[in-house]
Amino acid sequence: MTKEFTIFSLALKNLKRKPLRTGILIVAIGLLVSVLVFALSFVRRVDSSIRITSDRLGSDLLIVPTGSRGAAEDVLLENKVKTFYMDKGIIDRVKNIKGIDRLTYQTYLVTITGVCCDVPETIVVAFNQDTDFVIKPWLTKKLGRELKKGEAIVGSESAFNIRLGLTEVDSVLFGNIFKMVGVLDKTGTGLDNAIFIDDKNIDDILQKGKADIKPGQISVIFAKVQKGYDPYEVAGNIEDSIIEADTVARKDIGKSLINTLRDINRIFSVTVMLASILSIFLVWAVFSAIANERSKEVGIMRAIGAKENHVVRIFFLEVFVIGSIGSILGIVSGTALSFLLSKSFIILKNLSNDLSIAERIFIGILSLLAGTGICIVGALSPIQRIKKLEPLLAIKEE
C-alpha cells in the first residue's frame, strides 16, 4: 500500500529542507530544557529530602545543645559527620515542660579508622530502645526484634560505605567488638549513613576511653507534643526554661538549608528565564525568516485551497516536532547531568534521598511542556502573520 501524503509529511519535509537550521533550533531547545530539568531535579531533591526527613523522624520537636541546630540538621539531612553533646539531665527538664507527650534521645559518636574502630569515618547512633520511636519502626521491620548489647545494625548507605553488605560479621567500634546483625531499609534521612547501637553500650565505650564523649552526655532529644498543643509554643517554653538547649520544630527542619537554597533557586530561575527568553527570541527569528522564505509557497497553497488553519497546522507541526525532539533530548541530557553533577555538588552528595520515578516523570512532563510551549510562543507571531498573507501578493512576490 502506498504511503499517504499528509500535512504532517509536508511539515517533516519542511524541517528536512534546512537540517542545520532545524538542528540548531533543536539543540537550543534541548539546552534550555536540560538546564530546566537539572534545576528542577536539584531543587526538588533537596526539598523532598527535607520533607521526608522531617516526616520520618516522627517527632514534633528536636532538642539539641544551644548553638547546635545547624550541626543537627547537617547530620540528619546531609549525612555530615558531626557531634554535639548536652547533659543527659536535660531529658527530665524537658519532660516537665507542659505539652510534652513522650520523648526519646540519641547520642552521636564518630568512628575514626585505625584509632578506635575498623570502619571508615561514620556516625554511630546510640539510642534508647525502651523509649525510641525514631529507629524502632525500621528495626522491627528489618530485624523483628530489639538489638542486644554488643550488636549493631547499619543504615542502608553505611552498609555500602563500609562494605558491610554481609551480616553476622564482627566489627570493632570504640575498642568494643560489635556483631553487625543487619542492614536497615533506606529511610531517606541522613541516618542512612549511620551505624546503630543500643544506648546500653555507652558505658562499655566510655570505659575503653576511645570515644570523644564524657559520661552523662547525649546529643539530641526527640519529643512528641500532646494533642492540642502548639509545637512552636512548647518549643518556646523549652528554650525559655532550659538555656542549654535549642529547639527545632518539625516544620523548621532544614530551614537554614532552605534559606541557602533560596539563593541557588534565584540563580536557577534567572538562568532558566534568560535561556527561555533567548530561546523564544531564537525561535521567533528563525520562524520569521522561514515565513519570509516560504511566503510564495504559502500563497500557492492558499490559492489551491489551503485554509488558514491548514497553514497554521503545517507551521505548528514543525514547531511541535522541534519542541518535542529538543525537549526529549533536554530531558535525557538534563537527567544525566543531574546524576553526573550530583557528585560535584556537596549539598546533593550529602543528601541521602534521591528523586522517585514519579518525581522524575513529573519533572520530565513539565520540562516537555515548557520546551514545546516556548517553541510555540516564539513561533506564534510569525505564524499569525503568514496565515493572513494575501495569496496573490505572496505568489507575485519576487
Binding site: M301, G305, L392
Partner: protein, 224 residues
C-alpha cells in the same frame, strides 16, 4: 445559468494616496466547457480579473456567481473550499514546491481537501501519466525541465477534478515546441474532460487558438 457570471466587478488597489482601478466595472458570462483566452498589456487587469473569478482576491464591489452562488460573499473557509474543489490554478511560473516530488506536488491540493479523498497518490500518478511525465513521478522540480514542471503544474491543477482551470501565462517562458505541446494538452483536456479553460497570454497566436478571446485595457474588458 452560466457557469461563471461576473456582475459589475470593481477592484481598486490603494497605493499610498493613489487609487488604482485594476478592474473597472466589468461584467461577463462564461459557459461550462468554454476555452477562453485573455490578452492585454501588463497592468491591464488580466491577472486581477481571473484571481477574482478564482476567489484568490475579493472585488471591491460587484459579485461573482459560480453556478448561481455568490462567491464574493463566502467566508475564508468556504472560499478556500471553492478554490480547492471547483478551480484548478496555473500561475505565471511553474509554482511547484521544491521540497516535494512531482507526485507529492500533484497531491498537494488533495491534502487540503475535505476528509474522505484518497491521498495515496494513485490518482496523482494517473494524472502525471496523462500529461506525459509518468516516468518522473519521484523527481524533484530541480530535476525537471521547464516544460516538465509545467506539466506537473497542469496535473496538480487537475487533481481535484476542477470544473474550471485558470491559467496565468502558463507557457510564458517556454520554447515554442513545448508551448505548442502544452496548448495541445489544454485543448485535449478541455475536450475530453469538459473542463472550462481560461488562460492569460501575451502571445496572440496562442490566444487565437481559443474558442473565445477577450482583450483587456485599463481594467476594462473588450471581447474580440
Amino acid at each position: 445559468m452560466s457557469q461563471i457570471e461576473i456582475i459589475d466587478i470593481l477592484k481598486i488597489y490603494t497605493i499610498g494616496d493613489l487609487n488604482i482601478r485594476a478592474v473597472d466595472n466589468v461584467s461577463m458570462k462564461i459557459e461550462k466547457g468554454e476555452f477562453l483566452s485573455v490578452v492585454g498589456h501588463s497592468g491591464s487587469g488580466k491577472t486581477t480579473l481571473i484571481s477574482i473569478m478564482g476567489g484568490i482576491i475579493r472585488p471591491t464591489t460587484g459579485r461573482v456567481l459560480f453556478e448561481g452562488i455568490d462567491i464574493s460573499s463566502l467566508n475564508d473557509e468556504k472560499l478556500s473550499e471553492y478554490r480547492n474543489e471547483k478551480i484548478g490554478f496555473m500561475f505565471q511560473f511553474a509554482s511547484l514546491l521544491p521540497i516535494l516530488t512531482a507526485k507529492e506536488n500533484v497531491l498537494l491540493p488533495r491534502i487540503f481537501s475535505p476528509k474522505g479523498k484518497s491521498k495515496n497518490g494513485k490518482e496523482a500518478e494517473e494524472y502525471l501519466d496523462m500529461v506525459g511525465i509518468g516516468e518522473k513521478i519521484n523527481a524533484y522540480p530541480s530535476q525537471l525541465s521547464g516544460g516538465q514542471q509545467r506539466r506537473v503544474a497542469i496535473a496538480r491543477a487537475l487533481m481535484n477534478d476542477p470544473q474550471v482551470i485558470l491559467a496565468d501565462e502558463p507557457t510564458g517562458d517556454l520554447d515554442e515546441e513545448t508551448e505548442a505541446e502544452i496548448m495541445e494538452l489544454f485543448k485535449r483536456l478541455n475536450k475530453e474532460k469538459k473542463v472550462t479553460f481560461i488562460f492569460i497570454t501575451h502571445n496572440l497566436d496562442l490566444a487565437r487558438q481559443a474558442q473565445k478571446q477577450i482583450r483587456m485595457t485599463h481594467g476594462v474588458i473588450k471581447e474580440i
